[in-house]
Amino acid sequence: MNKDIRLLQGNEACALGAIYAGCDFFGGYPITPSTEIAEDMALMLPKKGGKFIQMEDEIAGIGTILGAAAAGAKAMTATSGPGFSLMMELLGYGCMAEIPCVIVNVQRGGPSTGLPTKGAQADMMQARWGTHGDHPTIALCPSSVEESFKLTVKAFNLAEKFRMPVILLLDEFIGHMREKMEVPAPGQLAVYTHPQPTVSPAEYTHYGDGSSVGGPYASMGSGYRFNITGLTHDPHGFPTGRADEIQWKMDRLKEKIEGHRPELLEVDQEFMDDAEIAVFAYGGAARSAQQAIREARAKGIKAGLVRPTTIWPFPDQALEEVLRRVKTMIVAEISQGQLLGEIQRLNQTHTRVVPVQRYDGEMLTPNEVLNAIAEVSK
């Protein structure tokens, strides 16, 4: 079979990845620099019998996908910073009610309306802590057009398996960058869809023990009647104020992430075998870091790249190991240091941690990272 090779933007690859993963519902509100995702979904979804709806705002956008997902859809929305802020209440709802869906945030400069057409990586902490209350999140962060495709598929798979909204954190640099990529043939990437229950309706519990990850759960209208609420609820989905049931629910939300870290985490490492300097970078910034490291190696400097594609949960263990091994870790981010604190938190071995940051709307360049590498290698 002929290979399907295309020149695509990160945003276009994301939309294609969603279709590949079986997405059949998109609801959202346009905002730069995420708009191409909505436009592509509007074009592609009806062709395969799926539904696209442009809602009146981002709150409605996430609301409508949560409703569709409760009725059994594989649903998605895409937005950028200001819209992501508006979605926070219902992102928390999706986590609490355990409804799978994918939320893409193509990050732009902020705060507020900030820099609509320029990139940033400054919503990393919002993806973790933007909602109120205590609960973990899952957020993925691609560094290339091809990875935008693959991580979108992965985001859907994790959403289905872990029964929760999964956040895909693109940045404008990746969203609008064009690269050649091969679109995987059907079947080439694994696509996971949660199973439907097989027990009788009388035996069914929508939040039954042990099924928070990978277990069956019913869609509305499939003959299993159940209640969904954002109020803290018991295993049947009914509001509760009982301490033991509250504890059960909160532990359940926590455990599905904490108990499955190895499955969730992915950290790409390049030139790290003998590295003395590690550059920690993700998303768009990782591309510059990659180039800088190649140039540093050409100069004989032992530098390597540590690039997580899963940002939340944070890959603590992998980074602790790196911090123990290297003399210096450079943290390269297109923000004022959103994840720098995470590295410092993990740094128990007094490894030198050096930030390289840019937050003027422009891409952090390979030279800027290279200069930092050269400086610390002196």
């Binding site: 009806p46 609301g63 969904i228 609420t229």
Partner: protein, 271 residues
Amino acid sequence: MHPSYEMLRPGKKFPHVWCPGCGHGIVQGAIIRAVQKLGWSRDEMVMVSGIGCSSRMPVYVDFNSLHTAHGRALAFATGVKLHNPKLHVIVITGDGDALAIGGNHFIHACRRNADLTVILMNNNIYGMTGGQYSPTTPIGKRASTAPYGTAERDFDPCALAKAAGAAFTARGVAYNALELEKLIETALTRKGFSLVEAISPCPTLYGRLNKEGNAVKMLQWQKANTINIKAAEKLPVEQTAGKIITGIFHDQETVPYTEIYDRIIHKAQGK
């Protein structure tokens, strides 16, 4: 056993959260009887609500149910219906929920004409948060955040919905549960966005703050001050001013959003 029981959740969810004398329970009864009359099964029903005293209803009625966030029920309901048009979707909302925080969703849901039946339980006050004024508190009436009387004018939800494009609008009162039940039944059979505004007394807050008396007095006031639209049309305006007009205001045959979307799918697939 009362026939409504078969539609209520079995087991531990009673007694309910509503105060004695609250009108919300009467509206719930009317909804259940309307669905029973239509002979629809519980499995094909989805009840979606926002947040407020009224929005607690899904816990008691044994349908598929989604208790969402304050003001957002219509967004969720649109997703449910669009993904699975076979489901009958009833949206339970309050005057604050639908018209204040959810006002934008409300007008756009009317405009879009998705096939939803909205029961807007209007008690002219925020019940759940303790009696603050709502977009339907009449000007001059008291609320916990309007101790000197509210300075804001109120919405007429039925007029608003019609202007925004709803296919069907009607109003009933808790006192006249039979009329309310019929209105809900008719609304459920209509294609497109249908609204039934159910005037539901809140004796605990609105009644107390505005010296309207207890639950019985409030219902008696409804009885004395309600005129059906057919009768009202024959009366001089002086006699209808300040009264609650009930009945069907707007009933237009429309093609609902879900059907129009099916045509889009056909077009996209080149059929």
